[in-house]
């Protein structure tokens, strides 16, 4: 059964005019968000994007943009309490970093 999280929330943006169709994004994306169609990247399943930032970091042509972050409520609560960005820091419990 495929997991599905909230729709129409991702901050992922693709500028096709910069894309050369190298396909690095399809290699690194853990949720098969991209496909190369007619030698250009297309987002075929944008709602599966988890904003991990792998595609942005590995696109040599800067065609992708996202606000990277962790989809972790505990991290968000911690950032509300202490200020700063939510980051993956499970030193005080929580299961994600195991």
């Amino acid at each position: 059964m495929k997991h599905q999280y909230l729709k129409n929330v991702t901050t992922l943006k693709l500028d096709q005019s910069l894309c050369t169709g190298c396909g690095k994004c399809t290699e690194v994306c853990p949720h098969q968000v991209f496909a190369i169609i007619n030698s250009k990247c297309s987002t075929i399943d944008k709602d599966s994007c988890i904003e991990c930032g792998a595609c942005v970091k590995n696109c040599p042509f800067h065609a992708l943009e996202v606000r990277p972050g962790v989809g972790c409520a505990a991290a968000v609560i911690k950032s509300w309490l202490t200020g700063g960005e939510p980051s993956c820091d499970c030193s005080s419990g929580g299961g994600c970093c195991s």
Binding site: C52, A54, K57, A73, G93, G95
Partner: protein
């Protein structure tokens, strides 16, 4: 130890030996880490490892220095001769370390220089776990080191097939899954995390009893514990089968079933002793507790985004707080009447 002479300076390259066999100690250590025992200090030394009998043409696999990660990689490499380059990720797994940037381009480039990888292998290819990609910029690593970065499969169990098929990953190998078993192994640590706050709550209830504001008893205890287990074990395990998308919602739904069940088991509505206030109090408190714990499982899941979690929390967090506060008030008022 290999000795290399660079100029006049003799520089030792430290290479550690490892194997594909996990010992009883390794397995016990993994079990303890899952339960939160010594988990934040479960590390191996960063550096270069030799698995089997690798030579200058053997593949180089890059991983994190969380021992659970290192072990789950090497146990899949039986019969192969490979190099393993362990980055210093402060004992954190590849995915979380990539998010923080400790499994990143800089650490990789530095570690390659420290172990002088270019002198050990003749080829110029590194195999990185795909889940390290959020921290590593493949083209930048190539620019600075001359090494080509190939992203291997998501899961270590596919690594052998990946190498043997000439570094080809199937779409299946590239996709992050989250099976029942994947979810189940994460639940102990979720449960362990609730023990401390739960003990504080029990302490407060005990004090309230002493102050004559109770009595809080067995029903409150098992009702609450049920809500906790629903939030941090049952909801994660049943995740895709529960209707809806938001985690807090899924937890709340199961918690609601539980609250109704607790009320019904104690004779509501047929038992006149069992007041509506108490029944309503449970319905407000227990599902909210489950919702909160289920919401916290977003961090352990593999398919949530920050934007999604923020959207969910904007509704869930105020709703949970209001629900718990009103529920507790109702229960307290009820014990006065």
């Amino acid at each position: 130890m290999n000795m290399l002479t660079i100029g006049n300076m003799k520089k030792e390259i430290k290479i550690m030996q490892t194997s594909a066999q996990l010992t009883f100690q390794d397995k016990l250590g993994a079990w303890k880490a899952r339960w939160g025992i010594n988990r934040m200090n479960y590390k191996v030394e960063p550096g270069l490892y030799r698995l089997g009998n690798p030579n200058e043409n053997s593949p180089v696999l890059v991983t994190a220095n969380y021992k659970l990660t290192f072990d789950s990689l090497r146990k899949e490499l039986s019969g192969l001769d490979t190099w393993i380059l362990v980055l210093d990720t402060k004992g954190i797994n590849v995915w979380c370390a990539a998010g923080k940037g400790t499994f990143g381009s800089n650490e990789l480039i530095n570690r390659m220089a420290i172990v002088q990888l270019d002198k050990i292998v003749a080829h110029r290819t590194l195999i990185l776990p795909q889940l390290g990609a959020p921290g590593v910029s493949a083209h930048e690593v190539t620019k600075y080191t001359g090494f080509k970065v190939i992203y291997g499969p998501v899961r270590a169990k596919d690594i052998k097939e990946f190498i043997q098929s000439g570094m080809k990953a199937t779409p299946e190998m590239r996709t992050l899954k989250f099976s029942v078993y994947d979810r189940l192994v994460l639940t102990p640590i979720e449960f362990v995390g609730t023990i401390k706050p739960s003990l504080i709550i029990f302490g407060v209830l005990f004090l309230l009893n002493l102050m004559g504001l109770g009595p809080f008893g067995l029903v409150d205890f098992y009702g609450y514990m049920g809500a906790v287990i629903i939030g941090c074990v049952l909801t994660p395990v049943l995740l895709p089968f529960i209707p809806g998308r938001a985690f807090a919602w899924k937890g709340w739904l199961l918690g609601l079933v539980w609250a109704i069940l607790v009320n019904w088991l104690n004779g509501w509505p047929s038992n006149p002793q069992y007041s509506l206030l108490q029944a309503l109090g449970y319905v407000l408190v227990f599902p909210a507790v489950s919702a909160f714990l289920a919401m916290n499982f977003t961090g352990s899941s593999t398919y949530t985004s920050l934007s999604g979690v923020l959207k969910e929390m904007r509704i869930a967090v105020p709703a949970i707080i209001i629900s718990i506060v009103i529920g507790c008030l109702l229960i307290l008022v009820n014990s006065f009447i």
